[in-house]
Amino acid sequence: MNPPVPATPLIVADSPAQPTPSAEPLAPPHAGPAGQPLLSVRDLVVRYGTTTAVDGVSFDIHAGETVGLVGPSGCGKSSTAAAVLQLRRPHSGEVRFDDVDLTALDERQLRPVRQRLQPVFQDPYGSLSPRRRIRDQIAEPLRLHGRWSHSAGPRRVAELLDMTGLNPALGSRFPHELSGGQCQRAGIARALANTPRLLILDEPISALDASLRAGILNLLLDLQDGLGLSYLFISHDITAVRHLSNRILTMRDGRLVR
């Protein structure tokens, strides 16, 4: 196994045009549990054409830890999330998850990893298919990864609904028959189907009404305590980020700042 990557000199070798990252914006203090990080991002660079959206970002997330990511719109938060998930392949840098560099894997090799690394998005309706019942959408990841059986499958779906605070009877509904808060819970239930270790939460409460936000924040805290999940929590809502996170990273113009 490779030793953890040292967090010091950080100039991206294959992009000499990149300015050197400033003094020591990287390797945040290890407030989380000691030992091997679950996720270790090093020198991440994401580009869209000639625009550099993420410019040499490095951070760790340990098991059971929540790391908040804040910053103004357009600073590269969501691009960082997409690159960690390998939904957008980074230009350069390393995304080491469970000690495997995801940037070196092809789509087929990423499949099993994606069971353990799951996204939850902002728009609760947009992240579900409008034409399929909630229970089928939660069952889909189980089917895709060969974990579906006629007896255990429906039981697992009911368990997931219950775990996220939804009455299992709601499984037969379509997304438009649920409230925004309920859809967001269904999206979380689907993300949890294959027992992930890390959830990438990209503005998970921004589209919700004030009186429903607290319920989702409580749910995230309960799930973390019960399942030992780690979170990368991206939000504009600084009080919510402070409430949930062990550590907070601030981004500006594609870089982490103090």
Partner: protein, 292 residues
């Protein structure tokens, strides 16, 4: 959709109109502006400095700052020219006077002479919103209505723009009706606050009283569900059961009764009427002053 809403905006003050989405904030604001959709019907009165508002007052005595600055500005004219045009059409200034007044109005919101020759798409979101504030205040309205004026801006820019908005209102003597869902923005910028739920005005009064010592169960529950700087990290927050009603959904009793921890039989069967309590207006059967 909105019923029995009454409030005052005092001369020179800031009133925040808050509530969750669908509570009727924007609809109330648009009713004051006469900008309701054609199928809407209204009942009730709007008095501006003691007299009923006429259509001619709108745009002169009542000005509007929308959420999306691009929709308030013409895309094909430089911002300076648009403000000059407003001055010429309302105050009848000459071309030359209007141009110099427009320049001054833009300087007051921090837009340089060079930027005043820019078209809206060449400016950042914050700059555009500044230009709209200059446009809205240049003809010294009595009342300025701003509907979520900073929601599409960065959190860092939001406070700057709200502070500027308040400053320009003070400088021109306008009262400000600030429609916002953000209670922290209301807390730092408004003298009075009106909290709406499902088309009714739940609680209206001085901002610090309402937010520090709410009298109605809805305001209390809403405040309890929001983490603040003082909330210990990772504690579970107070939640409300159920969901806000869909706009237009009606109930026999109080609209909040299905979610209210203090609801009685009366709350489910009889709609509460707005009444005065302490220095507030509340719409709730149960709210009462705590006896010391």
């Amino acid at each position: 959709m909105v019923r029995g809403v009454s409030f005052d905006v005092h001369t020179g003050e800031v009133l925040a109109l808050t509530g969750e989405s669908g509570a009727g904030k924007s609809l109330t604001a648009r009713a004051l502006l006469g900008m309701l959709p054609r199928e809407a019907t209204t009942d009730g009165t709007v008095l501006l400095r003691g007299t009923a508002v006429t259509p001619a007052d709108r745009g002169r005595r009542i000005a509007f700052v929308p959420q999306d600055a691009l929709s308030a500005l013409s895309p094909v004219h430089p911002v300076g020219e648009q403000i000059a045009l407003a001055l010429r059409s309302v105050q009848g200034l000459s071309r030359k006077d209007a141009r110099s007044r427009a320049q001054r109005a833009l300087a007051e919101v921090g837009i340089t002479a060079t930027a005043s020759r820019a078209h809206p798409h060449e400016l950042s979101g914050g700059m555009r919103q500044r230009a709209v504030i200059a446009l809205a205040t240049v003809n010294t309205p009595d009342l300025l209505i701003a509907d979520e004026p900073t929601t599409s801006l960065d959190p860092a820019t939001q406070d700057t723009v709200l502070t500027l908005l308040r400053e320009r209102c003070t400088a021109t003597g306008a009262s400000l009706l600030l429609v916002t869902h953000a209670l922290d923005a209301a807390r730092s910028h408004a003298d009075h606050i009106a909290v709406m739920y499902a088309g009714t005005l739940t609680e209206y009064g001085p901002t610090d009283h309402v937010l520090n010592r709410p009298l109605t169960p809805y305001t209390t529950a809403l405040l309890a569900s929001l983490p603040t700087a003082d909330t210990p990290p990772r504690t579970r927050l107070a939640t409300l059961p159920g969901r806000p009603p869909t706009p237009g959904e009606t109930t026999a009793g109080c609209a909040f009764a299905p979610r209210c921890p203090q609801a009685t039989d009366r709350c489910h069967t009889q709609q509460p009427e707005p009444r005065s309590l302490d220095n507030r207006i509340i719409t709730c059967h149960n709210a009462a002053l705590e006896t010391p």
